[in-house]
Symmetry: D2
């Protein structure tokens, strides 16, 4: 099996916004991806919890990596939906995504998001979305992640 983690980490490192947020790729394999974001004050909202936008970023990007693992490198998120379940606090935010169904040009993926504190993970949000192969640039119909 080819090593996907190295190339995956290089892609993540080439996304300035992922660098700004401090995202790390923990796992990346056929149909799966796991991102980790260490929680720091800059990522919070006014009540001291992690901002929902950080969680939606993590869902979006983990979904995209999972879909990209089966469709190829150049993919875009067409759409996704997220349900927030609990406020997020702790040491880090984990986003674990997996492909549910792979078609010819797109993959439907799910992502569970966990607040990790002292080694215990607690489900805090769950997402579902569609990742599409990128058409040639002039055809791009969706946001490139």
């Amino acid at each position: 099996m080819p090593d996907m983690l190295g190339p995956g980490r290089r892609i993540l490192a080439s996304q300035p916004f992922s660098v700004l947020l401090g995202a790390e790729l923990l796992h990346f394999g056929e149909g799966k991806a796991e991102l980790r974001i260490p929680i720091r004050d800059e990522l919070k909202e006014q009540h001291g919890f992690v901002h929902g936008g950080v969680i939606s970023y993590a869902a979006d990007n983990a979904l995209t990596f999972a879909g990209g693992s089966v469709l190829g490198v150049d993919v875009v998120t067409s759409e996704f939906k997220i349900n927030y379940l609990r406020p997020v606090q702790g040491d880090s935010l984990l986003a674990r995504a997996a492909v549910v169904h792979r078609g010819r040009t797109q993959a439907v993926c799910r992502c569970d998001l966990f607040a990790s504190e002292q080694g215990a993970d607690r489900l805090c949000a769950t997402a579902q979305g569609t990742i599409a192969k990128l058409a040639t640039p002039s055809e791009g119909a969706s946001q490139t992640n």
Copy 2:
């Protein structure tokens, strides 16, 4: 009509993540909110477009402000869904959200997102979600934004 923009801007300024992203509140009134994020390199992905996570942040936060304008200050995003339509580039990202229906404890809102370049706005994503009144802290079932 009371001035809502001032208080709204103070809430936004109290969200460290919104400060990190450089978000500004352009409009805030009964059932409506508009956020603006000046586009800078730190907010991009590897192809030079604005990262989808920035767009989902803007949708999430604009939906929350719109819902909060009719439900009260302490609200949370329960869930939302976003469709990405086009890659985002230009001067700034605009997120315009409005309440579609207001219930007793929650509001359903929509948000259109535009890439603004030299004064022209282009629709690039659209979102729909549920904003809920925050219960007492111990009952919080959803992410606090």
Copy 3:
């Protein structure tokens, strides 16, 4: 402008499930579609309101017709999301869908659903989804509506 309503009605009449539900196509044009379902007891749930499944059918099918109006006849619903706002009762259920963005192979559409009673329409649900051009049958990755 070519008459789209006639051909649209023939498609609707060729869907046995739409016939079972009594759906009618009121309007069908470039980027728009409106379905009407007269409310009868068979379409209700245990409390006397129209069943959510009837509403989701109407949203799904109106979205598909709207998308099909710009993409061509053979389209499928890839995905959609619906928020229920109020219980539905009255004379009929109306589903008004419109294209928000048209890409090369798919269209993102929205649909507002109304309960109509004695001529007054009341918003009762709202939906958003993706309609895709049907690939050749062997490639079909999504549900054909």
Copy 4:
């Protein structure tokens, strides 16, 4: 453990629309529900596959039963999202829903939908949604299923 299947089947039998579609409750327990709809011609679209509206009905209702199993009998679907993965044909449609997270007033659930043919089940759609406890009738903000 109390028998939930009998009461669940009585609720399903009291929904005229579920009777019209021929839905059966196969399993119903703490946090789980499985519906089965035998496929017949009346449930199809123009290409001979099961209509997407039947699938969205099954998702909606299975999500509601799963949520109701932990929240109590009087619940409503607030919202859900569905991705269609494959055309549905065969002997029956199965909808298997489970609670992902239970809050005080609402539960987030997922539902996988399968086309069953000669004993083999094939994933054909997947859904995620929010089920809410029904407030007193005058407060009802969502569709009652």
